[in-house]
Symmetry: C2
Subunit: 340 residues, 2 copies
């Protein structure tokens, strides 16, 4: 998964969420009445007119930090960068409209490299119904792809991180751990049967943002909160629960076959592997408990895949995983850009 | 000014505008009916609803490429990055609404560095009426600030680069060359009398985007085309004329006192210095010739500063500068991110 570079030191021990809180206090006085949601959710929300909600998100992808040319092509890197932004829009229940791209290219980059990146970004944008509307092209020491995506959502469908209640069912839109397994395979640090390996590599290089699922879930008033778990369930569930001021008990985690196989080979608990692995771009959802069975049934009928129940939000603060009779604290082990 | 790093080589001889054209053809099929202006202007324009035009722009600022800590504080760098984006909105006649920030911080960056950057960005956002709505924080080899700004404009006020006609008066909202002079002073490669030096340093470190001027000019139907000349007049006038399919004759350039003094000391033609220097963030405007005198008078009465006439758009293609009786071609000598 995305890891800070080994040489990074100045920020060791400084947690990304803490830093974001300090930044929030600096920009807080900028609040505009039409800015409905600022820093702290998957995307910010503003109101261009009374009937509309526009949603905006930015996500950067850096060569050597988020991807290397050894593990994927530049076309894949372009796709993934765009997919990460589309996933943030999906998490708000929004329909993507457009994206802008700030591309920094290193001295080694050729014209073909840049066009390959753009092909990947354009493919994903097209598949997501988004136009690439412009951007900026600068010279940087290494490839940096900073994308901003804008979407739209009906005011009544907008889903935030903060809407969950104690008792809500927690669910995810797909199995976790495949992207992380794909990275290990791409790095050559693990081998798996061909079909399983290919599926994991595809999940890593060509992730599919859950736009249709997000829009579908957003249309239900029983869905109280939603976010994508791109930084790993263990990190993102902490964020969802903090925003909703609840705790959580996790009693089931859907583990991708590749992650299950790798964990078994490496003697690890598959659940630990799956909650740590990030960039699966599945949606994490808090749903009214009485509505969950019917919603899950309709979801499966509509998408041909289950909506996986993983646990419930709890009044008691703190996050725990039930492993048999044991209650194990869910440690934030996913991606944090600044934690050492 | 912004220069490619000396080590850059892979893209030598590849002009930014050519590369942008190749990128445009890749993303062209993504066109959305609601995307009114895509790649190629100061900002992209879309239509969230029938009565509204939203404008979006992205501009990145890289340590070591666009600024160094020797020439400005990080708070200044934050201000300037935000100002560059606000200036693109001003060039569309738009009112800024919000910005998102993708901040990449290097291993040497401290918490204080990041907060200083944010203070500068927040100050400029506040002064521009913009909220900082969110963004992304990643680890990069060196500081990279990629900002996306969104604004709004009445459909009838939107000004593009492509609206100019042969015969239109060309004008700029202020003197040119001060930022470039400020950089030379900050680098210690030039000295000037204290007051002149301070003004140049301020222009370089704390540029003021021409938002009020842009909105005021945009409200006039006699203003046919507008852009900011952040990459230097010699480069940006080429872009304005190419978009409007005209040529231009430049017969007057308002040179900032600092740039004039430096050019004189260095034995250069002040006009060459001023058209080459970028990042002045003045607006370059094409105005119906019969309306210009009255508009310029009202501009000066309103802002207390002149709207400087610099020449006219011409039917004959090509850009020339009149120097006395001589007609000198206006060579693109401003900033191009990829030109060797």
């Amino acid at each position: 998964m995305r890891r800070p570079e080994p040489g990074a030191s100045g920020l060791s021990g400084l947690r990304e969420d803490d830093l974001v809180a300090a930044i929030e206090s600096i920009v807080a006085s900028n609040a505009d009445a039409r800015l409905l949601v600022g820093i702290g959710d998957d995307a910010a929300v503003w109101q261009p007119s009374r009937s509309h909600r526009s949603v905006i998100t930015s996500d950067a992808c850096i060569e050597g930090v988020h991807f290397t040319r050894e593990t994927m092509t530049l076309q894949d890197a372009g796709w993934r960068s765009m997919a990460a932004n589309a996933s943030d829009l999906a998490a708000m229940g929004a329909r993507p409209v457009l994206a802008t791209v700030s591309l920094g290219v290193g001295p080694q980059s050729t014209r073909d490299d840049i066009l390959a990146l753009y092909r990947g970004m354009a493919d994903c944008a097209r598949a997501s119904g988004m136009a690439i509307a412009g951007g900026d092209l600068v010279r940087t020491p290494m490839l940096t792809i900073a994308i901003t995506a804008v979407g739209e959502v009906r005011a009544s469908n907008l889903k935030l991180r903060s809407g969950g209640y104690a008792g809500d069912v927690l669910a995810v839109t797909g199995e976790l751990g495949a992207s992380s397994a794909g990275l290990q395979i791409a790095l050559g640090s693990a081998t798996l049967p061909h079909d399983v390996a290919q599926a994991a590599l595809l999940a890593h290089r060509h992730p599919l943002p859950r736009l249709r699922e997000g829009a579908w879930l957003a249309a239900s008033r029983h869905v109280h909160a939603m976010m994508d778990c791109s930084d790993g369930l263990s990190t993102d569930l902490h964020r969802l629960c903090a925003a909703s001021r609840v705790g959580a008990v996790v009693d089931a985690v859907p583990v991708a076959p590749s992650a299950l196989a790798l964990a078994t080979m490496q003697g690890e608990d598959p659940i630990d592997t799956a909650v740590r692995g990030g960039e699966d771009f599945e949606l994490l959802v808090a749903i009214a408990p009485r509505a969950f069975p019917h919603l899950a049934m309709r979801f499966e009928a509509h998408f041909g895949r289950p909506l996986h129940r993983i646990g419930a939000m709890s009044k008691a603060k703190g996050l725990v995983v039930l492993k048999g009779a044991e209650r194990v604290p869910l440690v934030r082990s996913g991606w944090d850009h600044f934690e050492a």
